[in-house]
Subunit: 404 residues, 2 copies
């Protein structure tokens, strides 16, 4: 098999690149991924807290981009010299142009116990594991199989992921009063952030608002609190304090998969360092969370969807130029602002023009943007219906159930 | 633990009984089930064919009936003399009154190969297995891991379950053209029924309508065609004909779990034979699919939800009477009619007063009834949104994806 363009990874970067290429008239584009669906990762925390069915945040790649070729498989080797790659099942795929967009995995920063005890939230099965743990703990405590402390949840990391999942866990814990009236009041969530404030990439005002909003939901927020190590049932801070926890959720950071660092120079987060046109070699591009690209103030661009999507479009144009013998200008990231939601009807939004939203207007902006980018009309309708219901039934509707 | 009333099984019968008891003022009612949710089994075929997310047809038992005690566990032993039962984890539960409502499992009728190769559709994990098989087969054929014949589906059993799943598979196969334009035309579904017509409990006119409607959807319908044996890749009929199949779905019948036949007299479907007041012993009642109760013309009542629900309400009244020293009249089943849906916007409905609906009016009646009985406003909203979308996107919207 020798397609002209091969894109590894069906995330925001890879699929944006594929769509741009096909919209531009390319006829021989192949995407390779382990999963046959595009995952809408920004809503994984909703699946992890029983707010949305898994199905709503996954969309079949083949249906998303008609005309695309899709190969399901795990890439185990990339050989830029031979212009080939190999899948776990032995299939060899050759290419003229290659785009690497494998994304990132949860980083542990070498903290003892994280790999064994913290639950990551990077794919559907991990989100499902968090949901099952959160929900089944109530039952296990009720049956005497676990102590009451198991109802305590610790979230590590005060970035958007940690803030969003903490808010959703706090709301889940309130809603469980309907199913476990005696146990629900014992449940609790603590957010631990090593730095001096939540949402460090936002303004101090937004950080303060996020903290206040989480505390209003009943969450405990600890800033300047670093994790020293963790065990199955507790998290030890460097201060010596011990936080009991039946569920530990890791939102403290991600890194590119280590296995690809051998392809070139990489940074501490295993990101491959590419040139200002995102090239690893003349025929290989790296985009998204896997790419170390320098932005304003010489800092690497953040590992977020909007960077990956802009890079995907840029590389599609770049490949188009290469085919027609043309050239493209260096990649420039256009900052689209940032947002984080905190529970129902609260969010913080910061636009690059300095405009800031908070509270319900910010939440509506967050909602609109997420529904807009969610693939597939069906999923959009379904998510809106679910949220409509959440909004109407606030405080009384139960979360989704453990499906075993 | 010694609750006053223990109900084993959180299906239509068990939960209707529990709700009636609690609505009547009972304070010590415990339901035991392996799963913490009520499964809306009439829509399992939708999950099996990627039409609805699993979450939409499951509702947490504890949230459904506030005031109810719920124990999650698998009952392995029932001792009517000692007024006790034992769970797989060793827990012993004693009771004053016991209601057995464990439902049914797929029956194989001793046909060779059914247990090994036919996919049953009685719980969430089985429906998920059918969905994953149906969807992943396209990918496996595309990658050359399976032959093209694997795209052929055989459904065994022409009752409502077989008819409904056949219609939904036929529609799924049409929709897959969006993802697999080359392979989709090779997919095919055959419905095999041993008797002379589909839907034998309906009128001949409805049977003929159902057959015509399925054929209009592209399904092949074989009546008077009995399965002799089956293998991993084909179904052999007694006529000698061999039907190749990558997926074999079993809808040919159910039976009560065999393990409980030792509790009393049972019929060929392992149903426990109870008296006209549904008693197995003075303190033990059996309801729903597990109970052999004689109806009109001396035939046992059918294994359907409306029988189980009426019996659940009856036993709740009966327990109320027992507590107050009163008596109840023998159980009488009130026929509520029957319905089956065939794909989108087609159904057959037969009321006991002789009224018959077919086509779109029947489908709307089917829809209204199913949404009405579905537990939980949230699931209702979500199912309506999904169906609304199915209806709007007919022919273009993809089905749900394999979530691995």
């Amino acid at each position: 098999m020798k397609p002209r363009v091969v894109i590894v990874g069906a995330g925001f970067g890879g699929l944006t690149c594929a769509r741009s290429l096909i919209d531009g008239g390319a006829t021989d584009v192949t995407v390779v991924d382990r999963h046959p669906y595009q995952l809408f990762a920004p809503l994984l925390y909703q699946v992890a807290t029983g707010g949305l069915p898994e199905d709503d945040i996954a969309y079949p790649v083949r249906a998303a981009i008609p005309g695309l070729k899709f190969v399901r498989g795990e890439v185990v080797n990339v050989n830029p010299e031979r212009h080939s790659l190999r899948l776990a099942d032995g299939t060899v795929i050759e290419w003229e142009y290659l785009v690497l967009a494998m994304g990132s995995v949860g980083a542990t920063f070498g903290i003892p116990g994280v790999a064994e005890h913290a639950l990551q939230m990077k794919d559907i099965s991990q989100a499902r594991a968090i949901k099952n743990r959160l929900l089944s703990t109530y039952e296990q405590v009720e049956m005497g199989h676990k102590p009451k402390e198991a109802l305590r949840v610790v979230v590590v990391g005060g970035g958007p992921t940690g803030v969003e999942v903490t808010g959703a866990v706090a709301e889940l814990q309130k809603q469980m009063v309907r199913e476990f009236p005696d146990l629900a009041p014992l449940a609790h969530v603590t957010l631990v952030e090593a730095g001096p404030r939540l949402l460090p990439s936002f303004s101090e005002k937004s950080s303060a608002r996020a903290k206040k909003a989480l505390e209003a939901l009943g969450a405990d927020v600890r800033v300047s609190a670093a994790v020293d190590r963790m065990y199955a049932t507790d998290v030890h801070l460097t201060s010596g304090e011990v936080l009991p926890a039946g569920t530990i959720i890791w939102g403290a950071g991600v890194a590119a998969p280590e296995q690809w660092t051998s392809l070139g120079m990489s940074d501490r987060a295993n990101r491959l360092i590419v040139d200002d046109r995102l090239h690893l070699t003349p025929d290989v591009w790296v985009i998204g969370d896997m790419a170390h690209v320098t932005g304003p103030e010489d800092r690497p661009l953040p590992m977020v969807a909007s960077v990956a999507m802009q890079q995907g479009r840029y590389v599609a144009a770049s490949i188009g130029a290469a085919l027609s013998g043309g050239e493209v200008a260096p990649f420039r990231y256009k900052d689209k602002g940032q947002m984080a939601t905190i529970g129902r009807r609260l969010a913080v939004v910061e636009m690059p023009n300095g405009m800031r939203l908070h509270g319900t207007p910010a939440w509506l902006a967050w909602l609109a943007l997420h529904v807009f980018y969610l693939a597939g009309g069906r999923n959009r309708v379904s998510v809106i219906a679910d949220w409509f219901w959440n909004y109407l039934a606030w405080g009384t509707g139960p979360r989704r159930t453990v499906l075993e």
